[in-house]
Amino acid sequence: MIDLLGYGAFFMSSALIFGLIALGLNLQWGQTGLFNVGIAGFVAIGAYTSAILTTPETADRIGGFDWPILAGWLAAALVTAAAAALTGFATLRLKSDYLAITTFGVAVVVQLVALNAQSLTGGPFGVAFIPRPFASLQDQPVLFNFINLGVIAAVTVAVYLALEHLARSPWGRVLKALREDERAAISLGKSAKSYRIQAFAAGGAVMGLAGAVQAHFIGFIAPNGYLPTLTFQVWAMLMVGGSGSNRGAILGSVVVWAIWVGAGAFSAAVVPGDWQARAASLQIVAIGVMLCLILLWRPQGFFGPQGFFGKRRS
């Protein structure tokens, strides 16, 4: 029973971290219409930034500055925002496809740097001994799991409230106008681009923060944690939840993560050992097909304001 509670806390923590990433994506895609296929790259930038800054000094690696965790998180958000702003600056005056292609490239390059810049990122082995919040409680696993969940939930709620506030601010209303009314975008001209860059950077900051939170939650990061599958999962989460809705982003993340973990556990129990890798591939096929079906039949998702479970728009 205690184990189950501990596992529940662990599960929710992982799901909420995805929820954070999905909140960042919702700001970029749901609120502003900017397509990001390099989510894994931006999450990795945040994770590595915070890891390098907060880990204790190590002999074989640059970094290990022993910063406080919160400082690492803040830096993660800022560095990722800068990377996102640069990406946006280079592409947002062009057709939307160019942003998509460029973000895809960002993820490829971040993966490459993580793998090959050994002296900074630890190469394929990654960075270990990332300090965990309230590490002194680690010998009481259940309590520790719940404290972790508390920290992550607090960050998620804070980001959620901040994003809700932003969406209602004049700034958020401009974004809405830009998305819904082509003429508004044209009449804003140059500043339309700058609004979009700001939104893309802010979304990037949330993704970077999520990456950092995740790194400190697990205590260890490596390049293969940031493969295209991650990008893809987050997209599925936002689309299930309903893009445009922050609440949907979080609910979608919990639901999709539950499906993902459940399917994984099911195939681990049912599928014979030598077929495990194949079953894992099938899991991705299923999510891919699901994403396409949602695009075809239910582009508004399930948990947003217009979804099944939300109040319908009159």
């Binding site: 280079a90 062009l94 998509a100 895809f104 490829v108 090959n116 893809f232 997209w235 994403l291 582009p299």
Partner: protein, 302 residues
């Protein structure tokens, strides 16, 4: 600097260029960046591999042609593979892309292609596992051709095949009625309908050509390197970069862009190491987007 990089660069550049033709046509005619294009390459290669295996089971082992690593079954299988890949693309269009295109938001189609790409790739991993396979495990002797450059017979034939395919494509686009209709549609879809062009036919031709060329490129990668489910994903960024560098919509541009990227990658492998190869396409992409987003042969976006 060792001049061998020229041969290596030309070869990988032709493969990128062949793939980029499909990307550039999809973009200029169907108006979306197809993230599943790389997976057509992988599906084409695996499809061809399966047909080779089937032929082998029917007629037993066959001798390779001359000094090449493969025999006639591979050539037949590649043609079958191209047909199969074209059917796959048409099926995907019918099931997914056409329906979303009708709703009118091109970026949703891009997203669908991203989802389809994940599903297609993982389906290959499910069927064939993620470990690499080969058309032939024989090692080919590279023939010195002067200036310290060496080339294998396979590589020579692949270069020649690329030249033939690209020339045929160029003639098709400039001389045939379907090619003209495709160019007309990419310039002005509404006017194309007004002058009596059957849009569905243009769309079909685009998928068939793009997918068949992707399959050809995939088979060539399989012959020269190896076959893996991820082979297309790894070439996706270079292909996009080549299409944009050459100017979206331009077939010769896509090929030239591919060659430039292939040569730059090969040079970079010598200068800064093979592990950074994949970053070159990104660097070129960023440079083009910042300096000349319409590419070498492109026109400004309307």
């Amino acid at each position: 600097m060792n001049l061998q990089f020229i041969v290596d660069g030309l070869i990988s550049g032709s493969l990128i260029g062949l793939g980029a033709i499909g990307i550039t046509l999809t973009y200029s005619i169907l108006r979306f960046s197809n993230f599943a294009h790389g997976d057509f390459m992988a599906w084409g290669a695996y499809g061809t591999l399966s047909v080779v295996a089937a032929i082998g089971a029917l007629v037993g082992t066959t001798a390779p042609i001359g000094a090449l690593s493969f025999g006639w079954p591979l050539i037949l299988a590649a043609i079958a593979g191209m047909i199969m890949t074209a059917c796959l693309a048409l099926l995907l269009d019918w099931l997914l892309f056409a329906r979303l295109r009708d709703k009118g938001q091109s970026i949703i189609v891009v997203m669908a292609s991203f989802g389809a790409s994940m599903a297609l790739r993982s389906l290959l991993e499910f069927i064939f596992t993620s470990s690499p396979t080969y058309f032939s495990r024989g090692i080919q002797m590279a023939i010195p051709i002067g200036l310290g450059i060496r080339i294998t017979p396979d590589q020579m034939v692949m270069l020649a095949t690329t030249i033939v395919l690209v020339t045929a494509m160029h003639l098709f686009m400039s001389r045939s009625q379907t090619g003209r209709e495709m160019r007309a549609y990419s310039q002005n879809p509404a006017l194309a309908r007004v002058v009596g062009i059957n849009v569905d036919r243009v769309v079909r031709a685009t998928w068939i050509i793009g997918a068949a060329l992707a399959c050809a490129a995939g088979v060539m990668v399989g012959i020269l390197v190896q076959i893996r489910p991820l082979m297309g994903l790894d070439l996706l960024l270079p292909m996009f970069a080549a299409a944009i560098l050459g100017g979206i919509g331009s077939v010769p541009g896509a090929v030239l862009g591919g060659l430039i990227i292939g040569l730059s990658e090969a040079a970079a492998v010598q200068l800064i190491g093979a592990e950074w190869r994949a970053a070159i396409a990104f660097a070129i992409l960023m440079a083009v987007l910042l300096v000349r987003p319409m590419g070498l042969f492109g026109r400004a976006e309307r």
